[in-house]
Symmetry: C2
Subunit: 196 residues, 2 copies
């Protein structure tokens, strides 16, 4: 019987994402991942290396998928922020993955550094061309846009919960999204030309 | 010999903060905390309860100390955000504590809910009085102000590190702080009166 290693790898990475999002890196158990993926635990080491390296693979794959479904758009930063809000709204496990990374494995991988640098270059060019407010440095814009897009998923009370403990309803969700979009606009729209 | 239980409690809470900030809740070990505090492990249970309850005590104490050193100031929200930035800059372990809480124990305690509600009421009154832009709901302002104040401590690369892996220097630190202050001003300053 032919072994479909591509499908097995994908199942392992899916199971690993769920395990890491739930328990973090130190708390994750490789045998639970293997069992959830219906695969031999040894294959994890063969395909991906140790648990930390497996986490890096999961993270790279999640970031690549995120960048594909929500491409960075320097011409519409409020829309980009709203799209990240929507992505995290539908997939709160991605926010957890990012938070665990910040705590347990904060150093950016070379691929992450390059993705970040490419966005910063695009922002600098847009500032040069007068399409983004030059008041902030490109990396500060990126940091703030991401922080605002993620804010409601990493806020007091827990995911999709108000600080008072009540769960989000449709009106609140939509107000939060509108706040992200409006806030990013205020931070990035170029100043109006004099006399306008 | 008289036992100074107040001092022992404070030593245990200090040691617990360090342990939780480093390892999180699941990863924290009560015997390491007792050893670091030079106290009997049994006293932790006597004074604070189980490990989760100990975490709640540590968190309440850290938030109370934070609120005392950086009081909420609805009349100067940019200054408040800058002061949070300074606090986290000097004590990055507080940011880690908050991140672990978001992942492992997200529900707000009653004291946290009340502190949040008090800030929201102050913001609503300031909006009513025309001193804060009424465009955003009070809880959305709080969420965004906190997210911006914390953004650089929870960003890609790790604490006090740029996304490109380089460590913060004094110029960058000061640019980041200025960006927080300016951004919070843009989101909260009341609109200029017509004709001004």
């Amino acid at each position: 019987m032919a072994r479909d290693s591509h499908a097995t790898k994908a199942r392992l990475l899916d199971a690993a994402l769920t395990e890491f999002a739930t328990h973090g890196i130190a708390g994750a158990r490789v045998d639970r991942i293997a069992e959830a993926a219906d695969a031999n635990k040894r294959l994890i080491y063969v395909y991906f290396g140790n648990k930390e390296q497996l986490f890096d693979h999961v993270m790279e794959r999640a970031l690549a998928a995120g960048a594909e479904s929500v491409p960075f758009d320097v011409e519409d930063l409020p829309g980009y922020a709203g799209a990240i809000f929507d992505l995290l709204s539908g997939r709160p496990e991605l926010m957890r993955l990012v938070l665990w990374k910040q705590l347990e494995r904060p150093a950016a991988t070379p691929a992450q550094q390059e993705a970040y640098a490419a966005k910063a270059r695009a922002l600098a060019a847009a500032q040069q061309a007068g399409r983004v407010d030059p008041a902030f440095e490109p990396t500060d814009i990126l940091t703030m846009v991401l922080a605002l897009s993620q804010a409601w998923f990493a806020a007091a009370g827990g995911p999709a919960t108000e600080p008072d403990g009540s769960a989000w309803d449709a009106r609140r969700r939509s107000a939060h999204r509108a706040a992200v979009v409006e806030a990013v606009g205020r931070l990035t729209a170029p100043p109006a030309p004099p006399g306008s």
